[in-house]
Symmetry: C2
Subunit: 193 residues, 2 copies
């Protein structure tokens, strides 16, 4: 297996573009080589098979969409802050709408996972770990709300991002920043507590 | 254009199965004929082209996933009822997890809409209308909450359903009925009102 790390990264990023544009069925080694502008056969030197490529793509998407470390540090310095929780979600939305390909590729992978049990296993782990990390982070940093708050925000933000990326006209009349603020404010309210 | 309504309905339902299983790229007239068990060439007598087929599929999915009229009537008889709003969302989740193909097909269509502006227009209209109808219904029947409540529930339920259908392991440890109850309870709380 070839090991030039920059080239491997470039191939994985090219695969994300192909996936976002063509769907999982269009993701072939040949298409990745063409997208990355490298000689035919290059991708097959870097990935044992398509499952291996899918696996690397899943990991890379999560890196690309992860939070800015500066924002995380800021949260630790300003605990119990609702405004910060709102900013954090607004930043997530901004980040993802600036990396359309990453999120669309992840969505293509999700649908492909319905058909490929191995890919399902591969994707479930990092997504579960990210969610657990977000829950731990939320609780440890003293942000308002509880475990359900984080699950709820995760689900609603996923729904919002998919809607916005695929059928932007549906929420055309909605002020997204205000909606996110409203969403966070309600999710942290724990009526039963 | 051939007009036998039962056959047309059977072809559209077959197209939903193909779409859920194979993705948008796999949706060909030939695959629809095979899935419906009809002679080759039948689908092309019923649909002018693939856009026409996509359009019919989009409409049919919305019919399949719409609420039970009895539930709607019940809501009108028991206004301002939080428990009813919870039941309503739990029923939605149950209905969709019993029609996996419909929802997965809708999701394949969403991703295909990123690539096909005409399909985007076709899908945006019924989805926007459904959301507006849900908002109007919610407000008219005196259920607690406001316009944002319904948008929030719509987005969070979409996120939940996609997560559950594509990577069920992520929410394996979560009691979904309790999560939905929690979600509705918080979404109807309007802290600024």
């Amino acid at each position: 297996m070839a090991q030039n790390p920059e080239r491997r990264a470039a191939l994985v990023n090219a695969a994300i573009e192909v996936l976002a544009r063509e769907g999982a069925r269009g993701l072939t080694f040949r298409a990745v080589d063409a997208e990355a502008g490298v000689p035919k056969g290059t991708a097959s030197n870097y990935f044992a098979n398509r499952d291996h490529l899918f696996d690397q793509v899943g990991k890379r998407i999560h890196e690309r969409m992860g939070p800015d470390p500066a924002v995380l540090e800021d949260s630790v310095r300003r605990p119990q802050n609702l405004a910060l929780a709102i900013e954090y979600m607004q930043a997530l939305f901004g980040r993802i709408t600036h990396d359309r390909s990453g999120y669309l590729a992840l969505h293509e992978l999700r649908l492909e996972a319905v058909r490929r049990p191995e890919l399902r296993t591969t994707l479930t782990r990092p997504i579960s770990e990210n969610l657990e990390r977000d829950i731990g982070f939320h609780l440890d940093s003293g942000l308002p709300g509880d475990r359900s708050t984080v699950v709820m925000l995760y689900l609603a933000m996923s729904g919002l991002i998919v809607e916005h990326l695929t059928l932007p006209g549906v929420l055309e009349a909605v002020d997204i920043d205000a909606l996110i603020a409203d969403l966070v404010t309600r999710a942290v309210a724990t009526p039963d507590a």
